[in-house]
Amino acid sequence: MVWFVALALVGGALAVDHRAGWQGLLAHPVFASVLVGAILGEMNAALSAGLLVELVYLSILPMRGGRPADPVTSGVVGSGTAALLARQSPGADPAVVCAISVFLGLAGGELGARLTAPFFALHNRFLGSLEFPPDLDRRGLARRLSLVHLGSVVFIFAVEGLTVLLLGAAAFYAGSAVTRIAESAFVLGAAYWSALVLAIGVGSIVHLFWQHRFRHWLAALAGLVVILLWIV
């Protein structure tokens, strides 16, 4: 339970950075996984899961009009589940643990976005409906604005923290159940899937960078790195 609360606090804090703050990268799954891995003491498991979630989300940046389902929930739930499963069952196949965690993280992100959407819509409507009396003095108006601002940040922290708490716990119990009953067919399926998630990452990177006029740099560097890695 303590670990779920810790994950919820991390999720809330990262949501503040993502939704209210200066978006300092920590909310992105690959960076969130370092924090989660350090807290839970399972850096490798958390980082592997965080990387795969990031590769899936890589090309969806807010400026392109779309927003990933809920990258904070995805990253924290995915890497948190991986780290907790690795702690709980050290003998389990790391590839299976990673595949299950990434799947649960991605599903958690989709579910989290739908769970939090009504709350954030309400929050948005509240902020849009605010009227300030013109006879209010400067100090009073400034204080009200500060309270609204602070209240909004606390609201974001609470909503996302509770979502991560709920989905993190659900993901962990679902993940540990699947890890226990996973048979050879599942292990093979997870191996296929891990390779395909990397392929999704390839598609995402091409989508992210191909539209710029420097696409020949992308192609040239990719070719060069492949040749170098092949030689090495």
Binding site: W22, Q23, G24, L25, H28, V30, S33, M43, L47, G50, L51, E54, V56, Y57, L58, L61, M63, P68, A69, F103, L106, A107, E110, N124, L127, L130, L136, R138, R139, L141, A142, L145, V148, H149, S152, S184, A185, L188, G189, A190, A191, Y192, S194, A195, L196, L198, A199, I200, V202, G203, V206, H207, L208, F209, F214, W217, L218, L221, V225, V226
Partner: protein, 241 residues
Amino acid sequence: MFLRLLFLQGVLNRRGMQNLGLADALGPVSAKLDPDGSNSLLLRHLSFFNCNPNFVPLIAGGILKLEQEKNAGKPVTDEDIERFKKALAGPVAAMGDMLFMGNLKALALTFGCLFAIHKLPIGLVAVFLLYNFTVLSCRLWGIFYGFAKGWELVTVLSGPRFRKILSVAEGASAGTGGALLGVLLHRVAEDSRALAAPGIATGAIVATAAVTLYTLKRDVPASWIAIILLPTCVFIALLTG
């Protein structure tokens, strides 16, 4: 003011967008700009305002300069200040989105993925620190630069220097993206060779990458493909295994 501008997006709303955040950020300095205790400055800045959050400090600095000039008796009216905000917010938002969201963030995330592939958390910490140093110093510098320039900001931002910075950032992020693409292609090729039927696996991998690219171009999130694929893969493994 700097700290309040950091959390500007917390009060983002569809009606006024960043208006509440901007007005709140101007709160601490409004006492100096409105010495008679009236709320006119804060009320005026509660009008619609939307810009890239990393460039809002630049405009906020410019607003302070114009408000100060107005108080000093220079020929600056409330309408001029509103025009200044509107003239800058749109173009600066587009510039900020291209520079920060489209390039710097993409560059940092790509480096992050490269370090994560090689299991180097220290590299991720370094990227995180470097990115945040850049963004935070840009925001802090923005307030002072905006205050120093005032109306001149319009001329400065429409000059060629910004385009040059953007061009360098685009080249760097495309190059790093290419390196990550190369590493991933190599990893994918190795993974497909390790699987039971390498020929079919390679075909499936190429098809997945192509489908991802196609669906992303149509604004379908790649996460949906990944979610659908796991049960499919397990089903196929059950059939074949």
